[in-house]
């Protein structure tokens, strides 16, 4: 079986060499990079625009953005037929191709986020390293931590007021610079699709903008959701620990912080959601109105085969339902959880409907291709390009986040000013 043959069923006239080549991993990739960009923008809302209520979620989303970054590479590595040659994108980039931008943009963005994290945590690194140094008889674990933190400090041990102020300024600049880079990171992913003139569904100048908007939406939604989940876990932990230490904040105090943050963040979510929906509907309306050569086959895909995927799941459940949920007065945390989950579903379906939907019809405009996602990983191919590969990609950021949290703790003591 040639690559693609296993999960493609052809109907009517499809060119002999045409199969669905860009499958679930190519759906996961813009989804993950979208989360990266969105998480970063959310973090920058605090650092650049000084929205004080978002302080807690800002640090959280910055670390999460960094945890998501290597995961953005993962679907590509699983998709490439020659993954060991992946480094060639950095070695001989062909910049006429949008994918070549990947090497530069990814590296630049990674360096910005890493640098910003360094400035945010440098004080903590120094504190911890000094405290560990005091311990005369270090265990292996403690010694390892001491060495790690000492290395991460990069020789900048000065934690005077003046030095910390410099850190703050640097964070502000990096957060500001990072926003256009994050936009570029996801805009180029949209460009990858929007510039393919051979694909009638993908070809539109709106694609980069639609991708950026839905990326920000997904990033904010994921950060909100994970923030709420971790806060709930913290509350449980604190309630248990409070039995020993009554000085710790009570569940109610924590909860009020949570709801305010959620309401604030939800407002930004709505803004970008409106923008994303507007552009997508605009694209659809224009296509139907101008009715060029490809409209016949596109119409049968959009209003026929993919009707449920597009209008019921993506627009209905993924856009309209959360829109209503967030706009109704007295937003509760529980409602926000449902809303963010639906938003994430909507953004995922948008990627699915673009990638898979774009390959649902043949370039001959006279045939269809049906995609059957491989469920059980019987071979390397069905793992990499199947459900389990996608699940691996989905789960990895959380594992990385958990690991990162050990070095860059997201939740610090409540009375800590920074």
């Amino acid at each position: 079986m040639v690559h693609g043959e296993l999960w493609t069923v052809k109907e009517y006239f499809v060119y002999p060499n045409e199969y669905i080549y860009w499958t679930i991993q190519i759906v996961m990739y813009p989804f993950m990079t979208g989360l990266v960009a969105g998480a970063f923008v959310l973090s920058s809302l605090y650092h650049v625009f000084g929205v004080k209520q978002l302080k807690d979620i800002a640090r959280f989303s910055l670390v999460f953005s960094f945890a998501l970054l290597p995961v953005a590479m993962l679907p590509l590595m699983l998709h490439l037929q020659q993954p060991q040659r992946g480094i060639e994108v950095m070695m001989t980039p062909h910049f006429t191709s949008a994918i070549a931008a990947f090497g530069i943009v990814f590296t630049t963005y990674g360096m910005i986020v890493a640098s910003e994290l360094w400035f945010v945590y440098r004080g903590y690194f120094v504190e911890t390293a000094l405290a560990l140094r005091q311990i005369g008889d270090r265990t292996v674990g403690q010694h390892f931590r001491y060495l790690l933190y000492s290395l991460l400090i990069l020789g900048a041990w000065d934690v005077s007021e003046h030095a910390l102020e410099k850190d703050e300024r640097a964070v502000k600049i990096l957060a500001g610079t990072g926003i256009p880079v994050a936009c570029f990171l996801h805009g180029y992913a949209g460009f990858i699709f929007g510039s393919v003139k051979a694909n009638a569904l993908w070809m539109t100048p709106l694609m980069p903008v639609i991708f950026i908007c839905s990326a920000v939406v997904s990033g904010i939604a994921l950060c909100m959701l994970t923030y709420i989940v971790t806060m709930e876990l913290r509350k449980l932990l604190y309630t248990w620990q409070r039995k020993q230490d009554p000085a710790l904040p009570s569940g109610e105090e924590l909860k009020s912080v949570e709801t305010n943050v959620v309401i604030m963040t939800a407002r930004y979510l709505i803004m970008f959601l409106i923008l994303a929906i507007t552009l997508e509907l605009l694209d659809l309306i224009f296509r139907g109105y101008t009715a060029v050569k490809s409209w016949d086959i596109l119409r049968s895909v959009i209003y026929g085969k993919d009707f449920v995927n597009i209008f019921v799941i993506q627009y209905g459940l993924g856009n309209l339902a959360p829109f209503i949920l967030f706009l109704l007065p007295r937003l509760s945390v529980k409602r926000a959880v449902v809303g963010t989950m639906l938003v994430l579903l909507g953004v995922f379906m948008m990627r699915w409907n673009v990638v898979i939907g774009g390959q649902a019809f043949s370039s001959s405009f006279a045939g269809f291709m049906h995609y059957h996602l491989p469920i059980w990983p019987e071979s390397m191919e069905t793992f990499k390009e199947g459900l389990f590969g996608a699940l691996t990609v989905a789960v990895t950021p959380f594992i990385l986040f958990w690991l990162l949290n050990k070095v860059l703790p997201v939740f610090r003591a409540v009375n800590d000013e920074r």
């Binding site: 060499n17 490439l80 037929q81 994108v89 980039p93 062909h94 051979a198």
Partner: protein
């Protein structure tokens, strides 16, 4: 509060530092960036297909698979033949069973999923065969989108794929409007018709041109005014596929009907 002077200094340094990785990739002469408009190459390969002569025997596909070592039973092929049957009810039936590797031996049209459409002879208004292969475009979109420079255009116009450099991303496969590219089932890199480069550069013809007993396929050099293929392209009415994409394809068709996809 940072002074304006310091801010300017630091911004410039920052931008300069970020520009460094970009300039490091600036390895080429700005002059060479622009495609050479004064093309002085002595050869530019072009192909001529006469759909009036094609009988749908599929010898071309068989020869191509053998010559270029495309696995015979794999459902991919560098070249193929499409059959168009227009019936009296105005419907167009199109198929290409196994890329016409075994020819067309039945009037039943293959519509995929193991189903066939029976077509009675008296219902047929128009029926013809259209051989297809890589157009070796003058503005190849597949080359434009390759992220690593694994596919490229040689000076004589043929678009080739470097099997040792291709990363298998599939962008070129998605970028081709004609659907001529695919993943090689053995090498797992991008693959497509290359006008039998190993034959034409030795003065031979492509395998499909040699295999065609009806003269439906011909190859020539558009730079040579005395080439019979060039003469036909210049003096007779020929057409190309999907001109609206701006790819400037170099496979010319005689008898290209409006139904052809």
């Amino acid at each position: 509060m940072i002074s304006r002077r310091n801010f300017c200094k630091k911004t410039m340094l920052l931008v300069g530092g970020m520009a460094l990785p970009l300039t490091a990739f600036e390895l080429f002469d700005p002059n060479k960036l622009l495609a050479d408009k004064t093309d002085t190459a002595p050869v530019r390969w072009v192909f001529l297909v006469d759909t009036k002569k094609c009988v749908g025997c599929g010898f071309c596909v068989k020869a191509c698979k053998t010559e270029n070592e495309t696995p015979y039973d794999a459902n991919v092929t560098r070249t193929w033949v499409e059959r168009y049957v227009v019936t009296r009810d105005g419907r167009t039936h199109i198929d290409s069973p196994k890329g016409a590797r075994d020819g067309f031996t039945t009037a039943r049209v293959d519509i995929g999923e193991g189903r066939f459409e029976e077509i009675k002879g008296e219902d047929v208004d128009k029926a013809f065969f259209v051989p297809k292969l890589c157009n070796q475009c003058d503005n190849p979109p597949c080359v434009q989108v390759c992220p690593v420079g694994a596919t490229y255009q040689a000076a004589d116009g043929v678009v080739l794929v470097d099997r040792k450099w291709c990363i298998g991303c599939g962008y070129c496969v998605m970028g081709c409007p004609y659907g001529v590219r695919f993943f090689h089932p053995v090498y797992h890199v991008a693959e497509k018709c290359n006008f039998c480069y190993h034959r034409i550069t030795k003065g031979m013809k492509t395998a499909c041109v040699d295999a065609c007993a009806f003269g439906a396929r011909r190859i020539g050099n558009i730079k040579d005014p005395d080439d019979p293929v060039t003469r036909i392209i210049m003096t007779e009415r020929v057409n190309v596929l999907k001109e609206e994409y701006g790819t400037k394809p170099q496979v010319f068709y005689i008898g290209l009907s409006k139904e052809v996809k």
